[in-house]
């Protein structure tokens, strides 16, 4: 709890953000061909070594790091060193990018066409671009965009090309390579490919990390990768992966570069291309393997309107200043730097904290559209829906609240709220229906989830409805980071046995810990989060705090209800998972069976009318709940032959369920264990 906050805690209302420019506007008014063939002369890093690009592979293959590992492996396995070196060479060949300007120009042309067809506008903060340009000249740069769509990295390169900046080299998942032609095209536009998992493969790891570090040390091009590791199917930010971040920070720790600039980039889509695709995937319809033909089928998306995109280039973060006082670089003094070593606990902790604060920096600058607020409201009023006027009124209220909480809301203030609402609804007409002045989620024939008395629906119908609900939640989720901390506090007050500050804090800490696989909650920052939540609720007058007590005010009831309702599906979901594990799970439950089994269980509960949240069907939530229980030690993995079975500590799971439901006080014992 003593850990320092990884971000500054001040009034979020006072956050200053840059203005946006629409880069598509010029594309609509001038020749795309001329644009694709324009003179492209980006400024480069001052320390860039000439010919570095052409020497990249040789440098990696001849590096001391690689030699060391090759020798070691050769000694361990008895395989000749040159055979292993060959292997390394093959790995590098499979991995390396082959960026060439002609391909980039080809993309510049085709993407111009595609973007204009798909999107109304692509907004970019030009001040951010200027900061980036400055940073590129001074230090090696790492670009860290959020990841919500396949589009992301093409879009990034497109923007950098537009602004005459050095094109990044991008770490991409190997699954793209499956698309033969496209994979090669992406490679030539600057992508390099890494296998999804190579945990124990020392050789692969060495080639890979040397490849990335060599590019950084020589400052040839910005390195781009996704902190979240994969596309978030839910629009919630994912728990950051630390591997690559560790790699790009390493040259600084070892003094090989003076500094490294990390630039968080927030890409917000008004409508996500993969909207229903993701929902299906979360519901268990398997993800279509990336294939070229699949991509062509996606052509029909070209005829739809996907609104606008906002890309916000955040403030470059200096690894040097970040590490000041946290990492003692002298630790690297006593061993040759090319010998691989596990990062120290201190370093690991630092990288982890940095990763969280970078993801939070991405979240902070995510642009929220009015629809995000509408989706939140509609999800909370699924059964009856809302009258258009009501919805507008509520939306205006929520607009105020979210701004108070520091949301980066893109609400056109010059338009009448009713216009804003109706234009948002029309863009997302697949997800809503308006009948008789009442707005509801478009859940097919039956209006809303079943009333206890209505006729039962089939599982297939249920799944179709769930697709709509999950699509909707992906928009609500975009706003979650704004409300998360106050919502945790509101829920904590709700389940706490008394209004005593200490009790509330215990409950807060319990919930926060329970949900830390679900949301971006930096380990060790409980107290900061609690203070932030108190500050925000207090500031808006929803909460009154004395020395010992915290009380929801009358005027604050609405806010608190909204916040509690926002978190409720998650709390319900975790309870259902617990219930399943206590009541239904057998001794032989394997890890692989878990998701299908829990899904069947939830479907059954919904069809029986005893559960109302369709979003609990999301495998994301189920996986997160499982991960949380594993982390807390309520479940243990046991390896039996080729299977991993889940051993459930029923007593503990049961008590967690009751605590989540507010039936059991946040026990000291549980709290201490957490």
């Amino acid at each position: 709890m003593a850990a320092k906050p990884p971000y500054s805690h001040r009034d979020p209302m006072l956050k200053k953000r840059d203005d946006f420019e629409d880069i598509l506007e010029e594309r609509r008014n001038s020749s795309d061909l001329r644009y694709a063939l324009k003179c492209y002369t980006p400024v480069v890093y001052k320390g860039v070594t000439p010919n570095a690009a052409s020497l990249l592979k040789t440098t990696v293959l001849q590096s001391d790091q690689l030699h060391y590992v090759v020798d070691q492996l050769s000694k361990e396995t008895g395989v000749a060193a040159d055979v292993i070196q060959e292997e390394a060479s093959a790995i590098l060949e499979e991995m390396a990018h082959r960026q060439q300007l002609s391909t980039v120009r080809f993309f510049a042309f085709t993407l111009s066409k595609a973007f204009k067809a798909l999107f109304r506008s692509i907004h970019v903060n030009e001040e951010g671009i200027q900061r980036l340009q400055q940073a590129i000249q001074e230090h090696p740069v790492v670009l860290l965009p959020s990841h919500r769509s396949y589009m992301d990295f093409l879009l990034m390169s497109y923007i950098l090309y537009t602004y005459d900046l050095v094109l990044p080299v991008i770490a991409a998942g190997m699954d793209f390579m499956g698309m033969k032609f496209v994979g090669e095209m992406l490679r030539m536009s600057g992508a390099f490919f890494i296998r999804r998992s190579f945990g124990g493969d020392k050789l692969y790891w060495t080639v890979f990390s040397e490849y990335v570090k060599t590019m950084l040390r020589n400052g040839m091009a910005p390195v781009e990768f996704f902190l979240e590791g994969t596309r978030s199917r839910t629009s919630k930010s994912l728990t950051p992966k630390l591997g690559l971040l560790n790699i790009v920070m390493d040259p600084f720790f070892k003094g090989e570069v003076f500094d490294v600039s990390l630039v968080p980039v927030s890409i917000s889509y008004e409508r996500i291309l993969e909207e229903t695709l993701y929902a299906r995937e979360l519901l268990g319809v398997p993800k279509p393997k990336e294939s070229t033909s699949g991509l062509f089928k996606a052509r029909k998306v070209l005829s739809e309107d996907y609104g606008s995109i906002h890309v916000y280039f955040g403030q470059p973060v200096s690894v040097r200043s970040l590490a000041q006082g946290k990492v003692n670089r002298c630790h690297f003094n006593l061993m040759p730097r090319h010998i691989p070593r596990r990062p120290s606990d201190e370093t690991q902790c630092f990288v982890n904290d940095s990763a969280y604060s970078l993801v939070r920096a991405q979240e902070e600058n995510m642009v929220l559209k009015p629809w995000v607020l509408l989706a939140s409201l509609l999800l909370q009023n699924q059964s009856q829906g809302l009258l258009l006027d009501e919805l507008t009124e509520q939306a205006v209220w929520l607009r105020g609240l979210s701004r108070e909480y520091g949301a980066f809301l893109n609400w056109p203030d010059h338009m009448a709220p009713s216009e804003v609402v109706s234009s948002s609804l029309s863009l997302h007409r697949d997800l809503v229906k308006i009948s008789g002045g009442r707005v509801q989620l478009a859940l097919g024939g039956q209006a809303g989830p079943r009333q206890p008395c209505s006729s039962p629906i089939t599982e297939e119908e249920l799944m179709n409805q769930a697709v709509v609900v999950l699509s909707c939640t992906s928009y609500r989720n975009q706003a979650l980071h704004v409300f998360l901390r106050p919502a945790l506090l509101a829920s904590a007050i709700h389940i706490a046995t008394s209004a005593k500050k200490e009790e509330v804090y215990n409950s807060f800490s319990f919930l926060r810990n329970m949900l830390s696989n679900e949301f971006i909650l930096c380990p060790g920052a409980t107290l900061q989060d609690f203070e932030e939540a108190c500050y925000l609720l207090g500031k808006t007058g929803a909460l009154q705090m004395s020395q010992q007590e915290m009380q929801v005010t009358d005027s604050g009831q609405k806010t608190v209800n909204f916040l509690t309702a926002m978190l409720d599906p998650f709390l319900q979901g975790y309870q259902v998972v617990c219930r399943y594990l206590c009541e239904e799970a057998t001794e032989a439950l394997t890890e692989k069976q878990f998701i299908p089994a829990i899904r069947t269980f939830i479907v059954r509960l919904i069809l029986a009318g005893s559960l109302r949240y369709y979003e609990l069907l999301s495998s994301d939530l189920q996986k997160n709940a499982l991960a949380a229980l594993l982390r807390l030690g309520a479940i243990r993995k046991i390896k039996v032959a080729d299977n991993v079975t889940l051993k459930v500590n029923r007593l503990m799971v049961n008590s967690l369920e009751d605590t989540l439901g507010g039936k059991l006080p946040t026990q000291k014992a549980v709290a201490a264990r957490l």
């Binding site: 320390g47 070892k254 003094g255 003076f258 002298c330 003094n333 730097r337």
Partner: protein, 578 residues
């Protein structure tokens, strides 16, 4: 007594030798002592103004004269220990409590020390100066100091750059500066074993001159050798320019005699190497005056070299230069001296070229420049220069020279002539005078050094230089600083790197504080990049704060327990090191 008339009291070196800008705005170096003396340096002004954003219009001369200091009570009256003084009189050892003598021995040559003197500010100074004439005098003085509880601070050449000579302000006892300058004789020379027994107060250049008269030399030539003393070398673990042939002080010393509060410490024989437990010489070397006074040293001598040749090599960039030095070290064929200057220092060296005597030479210079930059394609803003000094018998020197130039060629190095090399080494001796010139025009600066493994040389150079620039900017320095380095020594496992750093302080209210913070940050950067706390300047009081992390707790404890045993009452109370 004392050299105060020949030497400057608030600057470096001899009173008659200094840089100045004459009425025509041209730089010249006064006096007759150096090769550069009496010469005009036509390009120094442009370099100076261009590099620092300084201007000859903006002067910042030393504000006060020596007379002010001495006669207007800027110096506190001495706190004398009367009983000690009486006893001193009775044993007949000369002493003085003149303000002039005391102030002169109260400082070394750190920037803050000289800056304060120029402004007429004097802190705590010794209360008394004594001049022992021989080892026995020192024994008597130390006995009396113990008896009367006075604090002794040994003083040799006064060239410390680690605040080692500063009197601790918290010291309440009478502080006595023990000046070894009268102990300056060579007591004997042993030609069979090639050793000389020398009193520790002798100054480097005198030692070398006297030995040369007998056909010998020690070969120990630290940059300060004109003024620094043998005892000082031992007390700080000094390093000489030509260590590749002759070794550093620890390699040169055969026997040391030191007077401590517990008595005299010395070994019983002159054997060239012993296995008798930890070498007690290593408690003495680097003790920085905290344990006692080194009085006599037996050191190795060599016949004077038959032949000396300077040389220089131009490299297209610093990276290539370092790679070449590394290869030379790998092949263990380093000449007596090999030094690599970075581009900024190369430019600086260029600015110190004296006026050429004939059109022909200037034409030749132009031709050389054309050849290197246009024909060979070296970028004048990246190229760097190594200076070389070969010594030995003529044939071997020429052979050696060829070997080194062949290696250099592999790294793109071009031989650039003897002249450039010789000028490079001459600069070593005059560079300290240049700081005084800078201080007349709002420019302050200093050098500091480290040693570092080979694989980190480039990284440390880049990062420390960058850190200096960054820190200056952050601390409000209005002009870009000069931040430059050179590799001055090569070893099997690494190198010694020197950093020079100076900036124009116009617009700053407390320039010395800014300077010190930047130097502090630079030292942190050095340590973070795997560099040592010091290669040969020592720790003094300036770098004390990093000793524990440098040596580990146990290491500190070992040193402390030695101090506690040898000097339980902290008679040698300069508070250096620990």
């Amino acid at each position: 007594a004392g050299p105060t008339e020949i030497m400057k009291w608030n600057g470096w070196g001899y009173s008659d030798s200094r840089f100045l800008f004459n009425k025509k705005g041209q730089a010249e170096f006064t006096g007759k002592r150096y090769r550069l003396s009496g010469m005009i340096l036509p390009s120094l002004k442009d370099w100076f103004e261009g590099t620092f954003g300084a201007s000859l219009q903006h002067k910042s001369p030393a504000t006060v004269s020596a007379i002010y200091i001495y006669f207007f009570n800027a110096v506190q009256p001495p706190t004398l220990n009367e009983a000690f003084v009486e006893d001193l009189k009775s044993v007949g050892i000369p002493f003085s409590h003149d303000a002039e003598d005391r102030v002169f021995r109260a400082h070394g040559h750190c920037l803050h020390e000289i800056f304060a003197l120029r402004e007429g500010k004097v802190g705590r100074v010794p209360d008394l100066v004594v001049w022992p004439n021989c080892h026995n005098d020192v024994v008597k003085i130390v006995e009396l100091a113990c008896k009367h509880s006075v604090c002794l601070i040994p003083y040799g050449g006064g060239t410390s750059v680690s605040s080692a000579l500063e009197c601790p302000p918290e010291e309440t006892r009478s502080i006595v500066s023990l000046d070894t300058s009268q102990m300056n004789r060579i007591l004997w020379i042993d030609e069979k074993n090639l050793t000389a027994h020398v009193e520790a107060g002798i100054i480097g250049q005198d030692l070398e001159r006297l030995l040369n008269e007998n056909g010998y030399c020690t070969g120990h030539e630290p940059d300060s050798m004109e003024f620094s003393s043998l005892g000082g070398w031992v007390a700080t673990r000094a390093s000489g320019m030509k260590k590749n042939i002759y070794g550093n002080i620890e390699d040169l010393v055969v026997h040391i005699k030191m007077v401590t509060p517990r008595g005299v410490i010395e070994k019983s024989c002159l054997g060239p190497r012993m296995s008798t437990g930890p070498d007690i010489h290593h408690f003495i070397m680097g003790s920085e005056g905290t344990l006692g006074v080194v009085t006599e040293v037996t050191m190795k001598i060599r016949p004077m070299p038959e032949y000396q040749k300077y040389g220089s090599v131009v490299f297209p960039n610093f990276e290539q230069g370092v790679a070449c030095l590394r290869e030379v070290a790998r092949q263990r064929c380093a000449p007596a001296s090999i030094r690599l200057m970075d581009n900024e220092q190369f430019q600086f060296g260029h600015a110190l070229k004296p006026q050429v005597s004939s059109i022909f030479t200037s034409f030749l210079d132009g031709l050389k420049k054309f050849y290197i930059t246009k024909f060979k394609g070296f970028d004048p803003h990246h190229l760097c220069v190594a200076t070389l000094l070969f010594e030995g018998n003529r044939e071997k020197v020429l052979q050696h020279e060829k070997q080194v130039y062949d290696i250099a060629a592999k790294f793109g190095g071009l031989a650039a002539g003897e002249d450039n090399g010789q000028r490079g080494y001459m600069l070593t001796f005059v560079i300290a005078y240049l700081r005084d010139l800078g201080m007349d025009y709002y420019v302050i600066g200093e050098s500091f050094e480290t040693s570092v493994p080979w694989d980190r040389v480039l990284d440390i150079c880049r990062n420390v230089k960058e850190r200096i620039i960054r820190e200056c900017k952050e601390r409000g320095v209005q002009f870009p600083p000069l931040s430059t380095c050179r590799v001055t020594q090569t070893y099997d496992a690494g190198a010694c790197v020197y950093f020079y750093f100076a900036f124009n302080y116009r617009g700053l209210s407390d320039p010395v504080h800014v300077y010190e913070r930047v130097e502090h940050a630079a030292r942190e950067e050095i340590l973070a990049n795997g560099g040592s706390l010091s290669h040969h300047h020592g720790v003094g009081k300036l770098r004390k704060e990093w000793m524990r992390e440098t040596l580990s707790n146990v290491g500190m404890g070992m040193l402390k327990s030695v101090k506690d045993y040898v000097d339980p009452n902290n008679i040698f109370g300069n508070r250096n090191l620990l």
